[in-house]
């Protein structure tokens, strides 16, 4: 499956790019994070520890264990600090 993966704030800085198109067999967001973290040190620095990481699938907030079935865009980011 081909996915657009987006990163924001310190995750973007650690990965080094704001977005990338990747191929993956991951079934869930958590699987995708593990797949990406295994690709290089930059992804590992961003995605090895998911305790302070939030995710969205196709621009909707989602759980780490949410399935990626039919997904086109997955975003990883820290807890939001708006307002």
């Amino acid at each position: 499956m081909t996915l657009d993966v987006l990163y924001f704030a310190w995750l973007r800085e650690r990965v080094g790019v704001p977005r990338e198109r990747i191929d993956t067999d991951a079934a869930t967001v958590r699987d995708l994070a593990a797949d990406l973290a295994g690709r290089d040190d930059w992804h590992a620095a961003a995605l090895s520890d998911l305790t302070a990481v939030r995710v969205a699938i196709d621009q909707q907030l989602a759980d780490l264990d949410a399935p990626l079935t039919g997904a086109r865009e997955v975003a990883f980011f820290p807890p939001m600090t708006g307002g």
Partner: protein, 148 residues
């Protein structure tokens, strides 16, 4: 209903001209950049596309939950100097309680669930990303109980 996500400064008076016409109560809240820790500005990153959709969805939810007659949400992104307005919500309702509660509800949600990320900017340049607080998370959980 009006939702604006923009880098430019905004003028509350202009945006509020005619807002809530016919309502019994209008509440507005404007958030400003504080100069805590000697910062000179904030940089605010957001998720283009998701931000607008999420704000629209939540403004619609507030309209229904609190019986609003109108709602306005403005949130800036990019660099915002100390003293400038970051965001504003305005709510219009038949009576004051709905307008106050809806503004509070929208603010608690914007703090913790709208896809914005703040970074402090000092005179020397960018500092750390602002951390989310437990207090903001707790504030949001106040609204979990079903209405009524």
């Amino acid at each position: 209903m009006r939702v604006l996500v923009q880098p430019q400064p905004f003028d509350p008076a202009t945006l509020l001209d005619g807002f809530g016409s016919g309502a019994g109560a209008v509440v507005t809240f404007t958030g400003l950049v504080r100069g805590d820790g000697g910062i000179v500005a904030l940089d605010i990153e957001h998720y283009p596309g998701m931000t607008e959709r999420a704000l629209q969805a939540h403004a619609t939810a507030a309209m229904q939950r609190f019986g609003l007659t109108d709602v306005l949400v403005v949130h800036r992104h990019g660099r915002i100097a100390v003293g400038e307005a970051i965001m504003m919500v305005a709510t219009a309702a038949p009576h004051r309680r709905g307008a106050f509660e809806a503004a509070d509800f929208l603010m608690d949600w914007l703090k913790s669930r709208a896809p914005f990320w703040k970074r402090d900017i000092g005179p020397e340049g960018p500092r750390d990303w602002v951390a989310a607080t437990d207090a903001d998370e707790a504030a949001l959980s106040r609204w979990d109980d079903p209405p009524g």
